[in-house]
Amino acid sequence: MRVGLFLTCVNDTLYPGTGRATVRLLERLGVEVDFPAAQTCCGQMHYNTGYRHDAEPLARRYADTFADYDAIVVPSGSCAAMVRDNYPRLGRRARDEGRGEALAAHLDPVVPKTYELSEFLLDVLGVTDVGAYFPHRVTYHPTCHSSRMLGVGDRPLRLLRAVRGLTLLELPEKEQCCGFGGTFALKNPDVSAAMGTDKARHTIATGAEVLCAADNSCLMHIGGTLNRQRAGVRVMHLAEILASTESEPADPSSAPAAAGARAAGAPCAPAADCAPAAACAPASTTARGGSR
């Protein structure tokens, strides 16, 4: 089976650790995963902001890039949902506009073989225990697009429950949106911030060390809020926890948090995907913004 990794533009640019963790996890499970370099972005930002036509070339690029793979793994509920939920709409709308079946024919083949990471692990690989080890208190935020659009259900929780050493804590009002919402965070900053603040408050109330989710964009928002509040709670992508093992443990304190997260004094754990000198030092010496 040829498995392609669609990392997403956000992860590629800002959260490469999630990509490395996904690769490590999949390879540990015997999956040979490829990262086709032609990939860029699913087009979600354009689509959701009202620029559907600008999303089309990006969708076509995705379809071209992954046409020959048997399965496409996406460590992002929201981008996987863009493909699965909205690519068929792109085709339908093009048809409604009198542009025929071409776009639908182009996009439709990649839709059913696109999987969010937890779906791929449980539904394609059939594994629940991925052999992970992460001895920390973790709470899980089911992101809206992963739970409502994709319907991943309790798959991420089943995976987390099988992680040795992990204490899973229930997040109050977990089903409420964190307030990120892509450009919503900029167009309605007050409501977005109010939602983020509530999510941060609920997160802190769990007593967890780590807030986990399947979407780094949501974690960027919640983590940025937690960080501004100096809450001492880290955010980590599901892949990073699942990739963690006794021999290569992930340390929450080295999680790719917001700017200033790794403030002076925070230990930088020697995880395999963290190069101490280069990755941690600049951040710790340039702790900026509100964390001062």
């Binding site: 959260y15 370099a37 959701n48 620029y51 050493g165 409420q176 167009k187 309605n188 001492g232």
Partner: protein, 525 residues
């Protein structure tokens, strides 16, 4: 049209109002729980929801047929049918009908359609006083307020605010509130009962809406709780019902779906206390039961524009249950007034811009009043895909189409989006941009100026990493598969499987609770 601030502006004020936030959180939290419990009682909820959606789809796709059918049935049952293309015409029709009775006072059942057209104001201009009889509408009317919720228009008020309004204003409208009025809801309800009782007994004209209008029989249905609806539908001599053309259901039997979906979605009850159905007038059969004169006003007012849009059309399936408001995290924080329309919340964000158009900046801002979290779609009893319509209307705002000129503004955004598309459609440009971002990361300010401040006012920015994934992958591939290299540093030796974790890292035993691996805030200087 509306002279209200755009949604983000109004929401800014609302999010800073602690009392409002408290009232809304408490009320929506209560109703969410009740709804979830009674919906869970029915193991065929999904099937009912699909049937509700399909019945409304059938109705809308053949609305002309059903409109003519319902008209004929109402006339056959002794009623009179009027057609109103817009708010002005509907108001004129109703005003003329009331004038013809010689009455100067009318009592009203809570009705979204009459609020939408501003009927009370139109009647007032004609010298006719409309008395709202629903408790929440009474609170809004007495308080010179605006409704902020479809079902519970005074949801933004708590009990002590209601008591103040009753004590201060009831006397101006009729029987005053008792001096010893407490803020107990039961006490407040009793005050409303006494205040309105004489009005009910003496009024000759009532105005209502309808929750459903059955095409095959001409039957109108009003679903309510307090009995004020029954009063208005039973006691006066003349009943005028203003009903949106989308309220039709084809058959009597179709009500079996909606009378299950609506109360459970709306008030979180198995059934609301009172449901009244009437078909034309009953005076004709000599029973003398209810109004002897019945007028049905069928209202368009933008509904046919909405119907013409194959994506937006689904908004007309709405049965006004307000479940979407109660689960919406944006509504819960911004409150109903921010939506600047009688239809707040997610349904308002897709209905208002379709009924009124997007020429007004407020209306153009409504499709963005959502994080697209999808909670509204999940609870909608007729499965309106609200996020889908929101995105569709955003497209109309920024791009326009043959019938809808694009909204003003958005030029900078259009340019930025086009630039982003060009960048994102090229792995080469994307890679270059990533490397530029990384190279300059020490220079990135923690607080952004301009629009970016919207983010950095409350959130820290993400830190650019040392290397993009794609560059890491390229190096890794060049070095040979299976030999992962750490970025910009010599590869660390990989511990062998089963080896004890390194000292200073995680505890060896999974059972041992770890100490917080992060630095405590006070340690950071």
């Amino acid at each position: 049209m509306p002279a209200f601030p755009t949604f983000p502006k109004a929401a800014r004020e609302a999010t800073g109002n602690a009392q409002l936030r408290h009232n809304l959180r408490k009320a929506t939290g209560t109703i969410r729980g009740k709804r979830a419990a009674v919906v869970a009682e029915l193991d065929d909820w999904a099937e009912l929801r699909r049937a509700g959606k399909q019945i409304k789809e059938r109705t809308l796709r053949h609305l002309d047929t059903y409109l003519e059918q319902v008209e004929a049935a109402v006339i056959a049952a002794g009623g009179t049918v009027h057609w109103a293309a817009d708010a002005a015409e509907a108001n004129r029709i109703v005003t003329d009908l009331v004038r013809a009775t010689g009455e100067r006072d009318v009592i009203k059942v809570k009705s979204m359609a009459t609020q939408e057209i501003g009927l009370n104001e139109a009647l007032a201009e004609a010298g006719i006083t409309a008395y709202e009889t629903d408790l929440a509408e009474l609170i809004v009317q007495l308080g010179d307020d605006r409704p902020s919720h479809i079902l519970v228009p005074a949801i933004h008020r708590n009990r002590s605010e209601v008591r103040e309004i009753f004590r201060d204003r009831m006397g101006e409208w009729g029987r005053p509130a008792p001096d010893d009025l407490t803020d107990e809801p039961a006490d407040l309800a009793a005050a409303a009962r006494r205040h309105l009782r004489e009005r009910f007994l003496s009024s000759k004209v009532a105005i209502s809406g309808a929750n459903f209008l059955v095409a095959e029989t001409g039957t109108a249905v009003v679903v309510e709780s307090e009995g004020n609806g029954r009063m208005c539908l039973t006691l006066p001599e003349t009943l005028i019902s203003v009903v949106g053309i989308e309220k039709i259901v084809p058959t009597w039997a179709d009500l079996e779906v909606f009378l299950q979906l609506l109360p459970r979605s709306s008030t979180g009850e198995r059934m609301n206390p009172y449901t009244s159905t009437w078909t034309g007038t009953t005076a004709a059969d000599g029973a003398g039961d209810g109004p002897g004169t019945f007028h049905l006003v069928l209202l368009d007012n933008g509904r046919t524009d909405t119907l013409a849009d194959t994506v937006g059309r689904q908004a007309l399936r709405c049965i006004r249950c307000s479940a979407c408001l109660n689960v919406c995290p944006v509504y819960e924080r911004a409150g109903g007034h921010a939506y600047g329309s009688v239809y707040p919340g997610p349904i308002g964000a897709i209905l208002t811009p379709q009924l009124r158009g997007t020429a007004d900046p407020l209306d153009a801002s409504l499709p963005y009043a959502s994080s697209l979290c999808g909670a509204c779609y999940e609870v909608c009893p007729v499965a309106i895909d609200i996020p889908e319509v929101l995105v569709h209307l955003r497209e109309r705002v920024v791009q326009g189409d043959a019938e809808h000129p694009r909204a003003k503004g958005h030029l900078a955004e259009r340019v930025a989006m086009r630039a982003a598309r060009t960048l994102l459609d090229s792995p080469r440009l994307l890679g270059a941009a990533q490397r530029a971002g990384i190279a300059t990361r020490r220079l990135h300010p923690g607080r952004l100026p301009g629009p970016g401040a919207a983010w950095t006012d409350t959130r820290d920015l993400p830190q650019f990493p040392d290397e993009s994934f794609r560059d890491w992958w390229a190096r890794r591939s060049a070095a040979g598969e299976g030999a992962p290299a750490a970025p910009a540093a010599p590869a660390r030796p990989t511990p062998e499987a089963g080896q004890t974790p390194e000292a200073g890292n995680a505890p060896a035993s999974g059972d041992t609770p770890s100490t917080t691996p992060t630095s405590a805030p006070e340690e950071r200087k």
